[in-house]
Symmetry: C2
Amino acid sequence: MKKILNDVEAVVDEMLEGMVAAHPDRLRRLKGTTVLVRKEAPVNGKVGIVSGGGSGHEPAHGGFVGEGMLDAAVAGEVFTSPTPDQIYEAIKAVHGGKGVLLIIKNYTGDVMNFEMAAEMAEIDGIKVRQVIVNDDVAVEDSSFTSGRRGIAGTVLVHKIAGALAANGASLEQVESVANKVIQNVKSMGMSLTPCTVPASGKPGFQLAENEIEIGTGIHGEPGVERTKILTAKELAEVLFQKVNNDLNLQEREEVAILVNGLGATPLMELYVLHYNLKALLDKKKLQVVDTIVGEWMTSLEMSGVSITILRLDDQLKTLLKQEADTVAFKR
Amino acid sequence: MKKILNDVEAVVDEMLEGMVAAHPDRLRRLKGTTVLVRKEAPVNGKVGIVSGGGSGHEPAHGGFVGEGMLDAAVAGEVFTSPTPDQIYEAIKAVHGGKGVLLIIKNYTGDVMNFEMAAEMAEIDGIKVRQVIVNDDVAVEDSSFTSGRRGIAGTVLVHKIAGALAANGASLEQVESVANKVIQNVKSMGMSLTPCTVPASGKPGFQLAENEIEIGTGIHGEPGVERTKILTAKELAEVLFQKVNNDLNLQEREEVAILVNGLGATPLMELYVLHYNLKALLDKKKLQVVDTIVGEWMTSLEMSGVSITILRLDDQLKTLLKQEADTVAFKR
């Protein structure tokens, strides 16, 4: 295993310290926890937004803490859910009197631990709501999931719910818009190579030299098919078709696109894929009003990509384009 | 070779089309060229800024085209200098009456071709100045270089020269501040794995399973030493010491830090390295006033990192922090 680290046990701790040391004007770490909060948290009169999950998906989730997105991100060990006590600390730290929304990716451990934390906070009299993101259309149920997995589409939930919260909306309104995004956002990924969890020291799966996997999860969970390597054009077709089977997009509908690198894929290849994807969207006469290309929800050094399509209405479009100012995501 | 592409001959073309298709509100491609310009170019009464070089370093350079940084980026084939005619088209397209500054990384082919383009433009009566970035302290001379190589520090030259140009300064003033950055910015990198140029199909060099290379260039040019893998702490020490040997930083001096991933290194590891680097800066009692962590000057899917330190004065600090709004870099 070749990685830049000291002690595999300390990797999350040193990462969090490194983030705070790099961005002390923006981020603060709650003492004795793995929680990063906005410097100014809690923001009075604003719904607090908390997300998080296993580490190894950076910039998710700590990179999205800031103006117009998250108030706190809770980091678990690599590919491991954070514990309820950590999430509970995050909720308390961001509660500005208007309640707290938890944005959870649909993995059994995350759902259980965030729910438990919500119950603990409610005993303290903090109003908490939860939304569960399940945008990955690749498979129903999976290694760590009942139902569909939550992947890169989660970033758009952060963005849009965060924008509405910044505008002073109520907890119910923020919860409602988050659920509207979840209903309208679908993703699908693929991998060319596996990744290695530091504490394990070995790749999570194997792929032959000329083999790729379609539908792999962001922790290396099995996808739908292993196949010989495809061209960018074929790949765009496979991913788009599966996503559109679910969204059933109609001519002239407005959409936002997110092309997400999984960690080791050069931006060059993401843009080549986007070029081929855009041709399909144009053929379908879709109106793409926002395109985001980069690394947002990664799987350590996995090579691969996911595409995400969000069906928009006027509200979602406005909130998506609204200003945001976090370490990793700015508009 | 596992990559997301169609035809290795078309990879730069499809990448550029993919970038413009993703960001049509910001970028425009000059017809029949590999030049990306700001949508609104030329900006009248502003010094135009052109950079570029071989492709494969994305987001450099096209990702830095926009408000407060570059007016145009010229893309060569992967790891190959763009030709003078392409650079000449870029200069003409961004000339807003106040002259054009070329920011060139110090590689023999780039220097020669940008110079030739400058001469062509001057025949047309366009005033052109050139600055040459040579921030890499690893080696004197190298595979493609006489003198030191230009690497990630180039991004800070873009940022600061771009800010001064946006403020309406003259060509001489913008050239002068770019040279001030160049004199005060030093970088050093290392690699854990090589990368593969698409047209070649094979990795550019080999490293054993437990081996890393210190001082590798961004095209895989040889560094100063191959060694068994180091800890993040050791790595931070090796890189910082070499950079500081050159900068000779004194207590309480103000600096900006750029920790740059080479393509396949997870953000987690960049932040772990930063945590260890920051401890050294603190020990030296340096005042870090700006820290930028991410992938800015990459080498396709090479795994590795470079650190860059820029010694600041009040002018550089203000310009570095000034607003910028490009596809890849925002402030």
